[in-house]
Subunit: 214 residues, 2 copies
Amino acid sequence: MQNFSQKKIDDLHIEVMSNCVNVKKKSFQTGEYILSFGLRQKMIGLVESGKADIVRVDVDGNESVIKTLTPGSIFNDAFSCYTTNSVFVISRTITEIYFIDYPQILTNCLMGCKYHSMMVQMIVHLFTENSISLNEKIEILSYSKIRERILAFLHIGIGNNETNCYKLPFSISEFAEFLCVDRSALMRELKKMEEENIIKRENKTIILLDVLHY
Amino acid sequence: MQNFSQKKIDDLHIEVMSNCVNVKKKSFQTGEYILSFGLRQKMIGLVESGKADIVRVDVDGNESVIKTLTPGSIFNDAFSCYTTNSVFVISRTITEIYFIDYPQILTNCLMGCKYHSMMVQMIVHLFTENSISLNEKIEILSYSKIRERILAFLHIGIGNNETNCYKLPFSISEFAEFLCVDRSALMRELKKMEEENIIKRENKTIILLDVLHY
DNA sequence: CTGGTTCTGTTGCAATTGCAACTTTTTTAC
DNA sequence: GTAAAAAAGTTGCAATTGCAACAGAACCAG
């Protein structure tokens, strides 16, 4: 999730890579659809600036944020294939994204380019990070009680940080969506937890009080 | 999940690969721990025969089967890193597994071996399949009602098959574990769905009656 | 075949959650 | 600055679920 340290790929690397494979940069407005993965486009997206969400939409139209993308984040089409529902990437601010041609990395330029190895490592990094995020989400959703999900989310989010603070990267409504629980039920539980001195909340910042911070 | 057609890697490939990277074959007894991923071992496991489960264990000791591994299945350490809980691979029958040294694929034998490209594609395949399974699990868990989870599970499992039958690859207890719901509550819901003619159940085979099979 | 263990099936009950329907506050757009 | 829209916050109520505690069936191992 957010605590996973992104391996930043700087402009120089992008420039070098663009000699090796097809790289395009595009800008998106707030709310614009960056990708509908139903198309199964084989490419890697790399966020340079802005913010975007990977959102799953089920058959009933319910949305669930799978992951929030920030500068340095990397994503691809592996999120959606073979599932019945759709996954979209939606720009939440003005967002700039590099698109790197995916099959090219494996076919073209085969073994000849000295940056090829770096590209392969980038792919592995992408998939590993993807895998980690998905596992974190499963860990959270495997709890049946809202309180447990909140705590799991906070523990992952706070991770090895020195503080017990966590600033939500999204609104409370989106938080409920992420946890796959009803918004009002989430509010209710957050209130209860505050009354029981388990957390303290101020706007979008949640402080986990130490007693249960095992 | 089970309907995802595995790209079988036959013995010849394994033999060729073993010239390029370090490959070891090991046998495990029923119930034996194949891997505790807490160790963060960088390697790929490839099931030759038998059956094993990837199991997540949370801090309270609750177990949840992430995925069932059958011959041809491939797995690695990307399942667990950076999460607070542990992931294990447990052998359910006598199981034979190839272990392929992971970093070697990317560092040793760099660009020299003509099977290198195949290895890279294997890695991509592994991660993609991993990603698909995890997404399917998230899709299932994103529903809050047991009935919805059962139906999502069946839809994924049946997929594009011609039949409406699905044979559970595990016991009802394990099914409840997989869906992250209480076993007795699952029983109750299965019974209700049978009474409402939504499904028909016989032992471990579930038939989805066509009305709701959109 | 016998005792033990695991799985299946059932039920009552309390707790939690989703849902609907609100009000209030904050943010956005013109 | 003001109207409109989105988000936050509340609450009552019904439905669903988890939990505990059973009993019977199936499946071992000696």
